[in-house]
């Protein structure tokens, strides 16, 4: 796992930036306590985001990680403290 995965602020910022780009809306409008579902993220987009995140942190994440940890806050907490599923 790459070092930056342990840094919650860096992870959160990366996710907020990526999600804002995907949704085509300003970063300031991304509430990290909202579920990905509430943002209208479909499963195909969720898989794409998961793959990008996997590549960035250097860990192959499970395809369902955004569903098991359905907000940015919870996903970041999982990545920083949880045991990340999948081979590294």
């Amino acid at each position: 796992m790459n070092e930056h995965v342990r840094d919650a602020a860096t992870l959160r910022d990366w996710l907020v930036t990526r999600l804002a780009t995907i949704l085509g809306q300003p970063k300031e409008t991304i509430d990290t306590s909202w579920t990905f579902n509430r943002f209208g993220l479909d499963s195909g987009t969720a898989i794409g985001l998961t793959e990008e995140l996997s590549a960035w942190i250097g860990v192959e994440l499970d395809a369902m990680v955004l569903y098991d940890h359905p907000t940015i806050d919870r996903l970041v907490a999982h990545l920083v403290t949880g045991s990340v599923r999948g081979a590294s």
Partner: protein
């Protein structure tokens, strides 16, 4: 061989004739291309497939002298299992995929026949003791059919099975079903690029279609088993990705990776379920 309901032979070939060697890269050793039956955390894919095959053989009470029909026999894992473990008296497998039929023929299983034939066209030589259909019912309705046409098609299948079975004979069925998703929400990518011309049933459709013809003996849904099956297939495909790309090309490999991931999410979020149902022939049918 094209059936009048459900997916055409061409649609089946589009998916299942991608090449036996490609499927062999990521399926378990028995080449079972459907959801396994997982017993515990440590069950491997191969064990889960073995357990699943045993489940269906037991459900139809397959014995040494039984005459068994497998509708949608794939690469013959059920037929092989019956031969190895129950020395099936005779077994018949139906498939619409020529690649699968060729593979099964090469297994040269004694007293076993494989036919490239739809269930609609099948005429058995004599009555079956049991009928197994695993991961085929998903192709028995097309997305263009109305709800009524869809149910009528399923009804025809149960009616055929009823006619083919000896008195008291059993039917063991495994199929993906809609759970909290509707027909309109079926993922467009899966519909157009993975399983063209196919639409899923609901668990209730199975019961409605069997009503008066079959008694329901057992019904369960285990979507979590499909999540694990798909996770294993994806891991296997990724491990042997270079070989897969050499066989079928980057685009096809990507398509399968995406299909496995979308399906995992579909089962995990309960948009889809995985039903296993056992029916027993009502010898005095009462049609609604």
């Amino acid at each position: 061989v094209t059936p009048t309901v459900g997916a055409s032979s061409e649609a089946i070939a589009w998916h299942y004739d991608a090449g036996n060697a490609f499927y062999a890269l990521w399926l378990d050793e028995s080449l079972t291309y459907s959801c396994g039956l997982f017993a515990g955390e440590t069950t491997t894919l191969g064990e889960a497939q073995e357990r699943k095959l045993m489940h269906h053989a037991d459900a139809v009470e397959a014995r040494a002298d039984s005459h068994i029909l497998d509708v949608g026999c794939g690469w013959g894992s059920m037929l092989s299992w019956l031969h190895r473990h129950r020395r099936a008296g005779r077994a018949v497998g139906l498939t619409l995929s020529r690649a699968q039929a060729e593979h099964v023929a090469q297994l040269a299983l004694p007293r076993t026949e494989v036919r490239v034939e739809s269930w609609e066209a099948h005429v058995p030589r004599d009555a079956y003791d049991g009928i197994v259909t695993i991961g085929a019912f998903e192709h028995f309705a097309s997305p263009s059919a109305s709800d009524e046409e869809k149910l009528a098609g399923y009804r025809r299948f149960f009616r055929q099975c009823h006619g083919w079975l000896r008195p008291g004979g059993r039917l063991s069925l495994q199929s993906i079903v809609y759970e909290n998703a509707t027909r309109a929400e079926l993922n467009a990518f899966i519909r157009d690029s993975i399983f063209p011309e196919s639409d899923l049933p609901r668990a209730a459709d199975l019961l409605l279609a069997a009503q008066g013809l079959f008694e329901l003996r057992q019904l369960e849904s285990r979507p979590e088993h499909y999540v694990r099956t798909l996770r294993s297939w994806l891991a296997n495909l990724r491990r042997r990705r270079a070989e897969a790309v050499a066989l079928v090309g980057e685009e096809t490999v990507k398509r399968y990776e995406r299909y496995f991931q979308l399906s995992m999410i579909g089962f995990h979020t309960r948009r889809m379920g995985l039903c296993r149902a056992t029916f027993q022939r009502l010898d005095e049918p009462r049609l609604p």
